[in-house]
Symmetry: C2
Subunit: 227 residues, 2 copies
């Protein structure tokens, strides 16, 4: 059983603040709210996309699966957030996969219910457009990182993302593995490890097991810019 009730999330979180009581009720009636264990797959790239997904507790990742069993992490998502909003309109299948990183609560909303709300609530639709635009910006960063930066730049991007966008704190304490850091930066696990200890040695970050503390953000920003 999820720790927090869906009703409460719908009432309290700004994600749903533009919805009418009727619309919230419709979501409650047309969704399931479940507990997922650490590492479970929430949705699978290529599978039929019947739901809009919201994470209400825990931590999750969205990622793209390569042919060579190499994954690329797109987002690390804290509650309360939409997971892969972009896959749902005009798409019959998910074009990404998502999985939990720690035990999490996930709400699956029937796609049609969501679309109905979009078509009747213009303010909400505009909010969603805003979200999608912000997503695009993130994608552009990702593409720049992968497309014209090398090792150090990519890695710095990944750390800055984790610190500024996910943890919102210089202390990154997310129970993320080195493998996942590599998949986030688009580099091999070994390279991620090497860079972590290199930056640790140089006093730019501090390592303590899975906890990474950013000591000199300005230098990371410089690394990101140099590429």
């Amino acid at each position: 059983m999820p720790k927090v009730s869906l009703e409460q999330v719908l009432e309290e979180h700004k994600l749903f603040s533009l919805l009418t009581q009727e619309e919230k009720q419709s979501i409650i009636e047309n969704s399931t709210h479940l507990l997922y264990k650490k590492g479970e797959t929430i949705c699978k790239q290529g599978a039929f996309a019947n739901h809009i997904i919201v994470i209400t507790d825990g931590l999750a990742k969205t990622y793209l699966e390569g042919s060579n069993d190499k994954n690329l992490i797109i987002d690390i998502l804290k509650p309360v957030n939409w997971i892969g909003l972009s896959s749902v309109y005009n798409e019959t299948t998910y074009n990404f996969s998502a999985a939990t990183i720690i035990d999490s609560s996930i709400c699956l909303i029937e796609k049609q219910t969501f679309i109905d709300i979009l078509s009747q609530n213009n303010e909400f639709a505009n909010q969603i457009i805003g979200k999608l635009c912000r997503n695009s910006k993130h994608f552009f960063n990702k593409i720049t990182s992968l497309g014209n930066k090398q090792l150090h730049g990519r890695f710095a991007d990944a750390l800055l993302y984790l610190s500024n966008k996910v943890a919102k704190n210089p202390v990154i304490e997310l129970s993320i593995t080195r493998k996942e850091i590599g998949e986030l930066a688009g580099i091999s696990t070994e390279s991620a490890i090497r860079l972590l200890s290199e930056l640790n040695h140089d006093g730019i970050i501090k390592l303590d097991g899975k906890v990474i503390t950013i000591l000199k953000e300005n230098l990371l920003v410089k690394l990101s810019q140099i590429g």
Copy 2:
């Protein structure tokens, strides 16, 4: 002077079919419709984003600028299309650059006018959501291509994109340079040239100056899948 009048484009193209006459009029009154010469910059990454851009004639590209003067082409756009829709809601600056590839007609619509229409025309807003979702899918392809494919896979992706999404024809006749093909695939110009002549030699494509004809698409698809 653009070849086609903005009025005519607004009336005839499905991009604007959900707008009322009033809204179309508002666009006419709050936009400029200009001729751009080949190679001119339409908008610049980092500059204030005051306009929503539409290409009404010609051919354009959107691209991301790297620190090392390496560009990455995101889209090649034929008329009539929005250029970089994603940059405008919630963003004060363009997070991409755009330039013409051949002489083109470009319509610049005041951002506020566009936002006003979005907030009063729900059907149109939903259409834009659809567009943004389709964009996202393209970004995912791009990220997969850059992040977990190598040379051959990336190059195949670029050719398939040009053929299927832009030219909509196995014959790619777009006056695109080798440099631009490289920037689209995320590889160096030299590599692009080498791969073109390699595939030409193997009978997978046919080269005739700037015209590229895809002879064996299934093999390109295979290359794309292998990575």
